[in-house]
């Protein structure tokens, strides 16, 4: 073939470009986006509900295998989803550039004279008194006053009104593009994750601070702010029924060097913004302060963040106890303890007696049930204890302020030597607050674009383009005023506007009294 590979490449690029330029392609891509999101709303998604995905995988291994190959468990992060979005952006741009050019041209261009104005859908003739030249001048003024753009040529006028529709429509489409671009930019260069901060402790915005619960954008370079949050105290208020009323975290926001930026209250719907990140109140939990001593030597002292299992159907989440683990790797054999906190000891008793779950919203005589295991600690996680090759040693109940022997599960008698044996105590009960921390530098862009979308939509939908032609012809001793016109949209409203316009023109050009 005469044309080398580069030319045929050029040709196929041109073909792709032409395809992308058509509105149909853009709409099909938009529908594909919608279709993809249907999949995303019907199949459990890893980022939103991982436990459901695991459940599904266990129940339907074959389907799960297929779904996972296709990326259906993370539709919005799948490569083909990004591809659809990219193509949509390119296609929109390809659509909009020629349309914008066309609009600019048509707005700049003077209205074009018509040859035969009596063939338009609306047409009227009137006799007027002014001579044709003077009548043309006043008619032009009338049209101008009614905000028409007018072009005159020798007793003929061509007038147009209603470019707002086209401009609004363009604004809408560009703004929609800007939403997509702003979202890609913001999500792509940002990150979001969860931070659990115990009362009295300080958290640092760094990769380690998120403990694995972080999603970073494709283009995020790892430049965490290093800023810090110190949680002074967390307060929650509940109704008796367990419905939460308010969550407040009182915090100090600190620079990376530890100096104070300002104090703030973070509550639901009232995030704090600092150092380019926004910090939202997300959740909370209990963090008992636990001390473990081996013959008086302190092995562990500090708060442990406890978490909850997901409540089964029909049981309030807050009726469930809180679980945590404590590992003592320095002992020989190693020791692991599973802890179960009941922040409301009376609720615990009631649950034991009646079998009915009781919601626990305040700390009242808190107790910790524990089980001690000895044997090798194999699971490196701080939250789980693999007891399969460990030996259960003892179990017991620990009240606040008590000291309990871990090997027997029995509380020390008053007067017994507190420094003998392996003991655990529970001097304090604190809370921790969970923050959703996110950096999204595209938010302002998306917000601005959303406003523009609305601003463009209104004229695009509710105004119409109208064209009118006026001609003045000299007859025997009088002037004939001819007016023709049509509306591109909203034709039914135009009839009235047109007859009003004709009346106004007739009046200005000198009405002939019958």
């Amino acid at each position: 073939m005469a044309c080398g590979p580069s030319l045929s490449l050029l040709r196929s690029v041109a073909l792709v470009w032409r395809t992308l330029r058509s509105m149909r392609t853009a709409l099909i891509l938009l529908l594909m986006l919608a279709g993809a999101s249907v999949i995303g709303s019907l199949i459990p998604q890893l980022p939103n509900s991982p436990e459901k995905v695991f459940g599904y995988t266990a129940d339907h291994p074959l389907a799960a295998e297929i779904y996972s190959r296709l990326g259906f468990f993370d539709v919005f992060g799948a490569w083909w989803f990004s591809l659809i979005i990219t193509l949509l952006v390119v296609s929109l741009i390809a659509c909009l550039i020629p349309r914008t050019r066309g609009t600019v041209r048509s707005v700049r261009q003077k209205p074009i004279q018509a040859r035969e104005i009596d063939s338009f859908p609306h047409y009227e003739e009137r006799n007027v008194t002014l001579p044709a030249g003077a009548a043309t001048t006043v008619c032009r003024k009338v049209l101008r006053r009614k905000l028409f753009r007018v072009a005159a040529s020798e007793n003929s006028l061509a007038a147009e009104k209603g470019s707002a529709r086209e401009i609004g429509s363009l604004l809408f489409h560009w703004a929609f593009l800007l939403i997509v671009v702003g979202a890609i930019y913001g999500k792509g260069t940002g990150y979001s994750g969860r931070a659990a901060v115990i009362e009295g402790e300080t958290w640092t915005d760094s990769l380690a601070g998120y403990d694995g619960s972080i999603r970073t954008g494709r283009f995020f370079g790892g430049d965490f702010s290093g800023s810090q949050i110190r949680l002074k105290d967390f307060e929650d208020t509940f109704r008796a029924s367990g419905i939460p009323m308010d969550f407040v975290s009182r915090v100090d926001l600190l620079n990376p060097d530890g100096s104070l930026v300002r104090a703030a209250e973070i509550r639901v719907n009232h995030p704090a913004t600092f150092a380019g990140v926004r910090v939202f109140q997300y959740g909370f939990g209990w963090a008992p302060v636990v001390q473990v001593r081996d013959d008086g030597k302190l092995l562990w002292s500090g708060p442990v963040a406890f978490s909850q299992d997901t409540a089964p159907e029909g049981v309030p989440q807050l009726a469930l106890p809180w679980r945590g683990v404590l590992k003592l790797p320095s002992l020989d054999p190693q020791v692991g303890i599973t802890l179960e906190l009941w922040p409301d000891g009376q609720a615990f008793l009631q649950t034991q007696l009646t079998g009915q779950p009781v919601v626990m919203v305040v700390a009242r005589d808190p107790i910790i049930r524990f089980t001690t295991y000895s044997g090798p600690l194999t699971d490196p996680s701080q939250r789980r204890l693999d007891t399969s090759i460990m030996k259960e040693q003892a179990a017991g109940i620990l009240g606040q302020g008590q000291v309990v022997d871990l090997t027997t599960g029995r509380a020390l008698e008053t007067g017994a030597d507190p420094n003998a044996g392996l003991t655990i105590s529970f001097p304090d009960l604190r809370k921790y607050s969970v923050f959703e921390v996110s950096r999204d530098n595209g938010v302002w862009m998306v917000l601005l674009a959303a406003i523009l979308v609305l601003l463009g939509l209104l004229p695009a939908l509710y105004t119409s383009k109208r064209k009118v032609w006026v001609r003045l012809e000299s007859g025997e001793g009088r002037t004939i005023l001819k007016v023709g016109g049509f509306a591109v949209q909203r034709k039914s409203q135009f009839s009235k506007e047109f007859s009003d316009l004709v009346a106004a023109l007739e009046r200005a050009a000198g009405k002939v009294n019958p």
Binding site: A34, S37, S41, P121, R239, D246, V443, V488
Partner: protein, 318 residues
Amino acid sequence: MSDLEWARFSNDLFNLALFAYLISMVGYFAYMAFRREPIWVASKAVLLAGLLAHAASIASRGVAAHRVPWGNMWEYSSLLAFLVVLAYVAVIEGAFKVRSLGGVALAFSVLTMGIALLGDFYVGPAPLVPALNSYWIKVHVVAAIIGSSLFALGGGVLTCLYLAKDFKERREERAVVPPPIMGGAIDLNDPPDFATGADEPVGLTEQTGRRGLLPPSAVLDRMAYRTIAFAFPIWTFAVIAGAIWAQEAWGRYWGWDPKETWSFITWVIYAGYLHARATSGWKGRRAAVVALVGFVSLLITYYAVNLFIVGLHSYKGF
């Protein structure tokens, strides 16, 4: 009155309104069939009484709960039904001066309220969980409910009636005139500038005398388009307000949560509908099918997502 009494008062009024809508619906259907002025007057009177009771029911629910009365499915359903009837009175009877469609609009509301009753959506008035306690969610929900009512009216009720009437007209015309090309929107003899605008009716515009129970299909078609074009920016605004709220509450304005996803899908379908009419000359039946698809998507957004698909927006349990 105590909160409990207010709540009971609200429920009584709800039942009263439902009862009035039922009677009025029957009356409107009778008016559609017989075209007797007194039937319309009586039905409208009952309708207005029901609307009044319904407004009072919604207001007293707010008093009982000490907050705006749109916090759960029960309250949404009630408000949606109320707004559909209100939109019918204001838009269809008020602006379009069409009286014969009351039965259908009321049937939609009665159905919505009935589903709320039978589906056991009722929960006592209770304060909202903190995340729902935001200025933006109030704005968001009001806009979403107004938008859905209008979409339901335009994309559901009016479009179905259009299709029914269009079917009947075509059956009657078939013997006389050859069928128009593809919905008959484009007259090939017109210069392109004269191609009918999106809001222009197709079919029998000239028809003056009423034939049959319904307005001519061309009128129904235009009413459906206008109602949808009216609803679209409101829905757009609702989605934006929801995104602003989500940004405040959860730190991300968009997270592809099922409710967000489905309201986006509904939006896309109606954007497609507007395109179809504005640019590709898809009018009449083809556009009506798109509008119906949008209506189904709206129903999924409204019912299925709240009741069957769990996400951050599932309020029923609260």
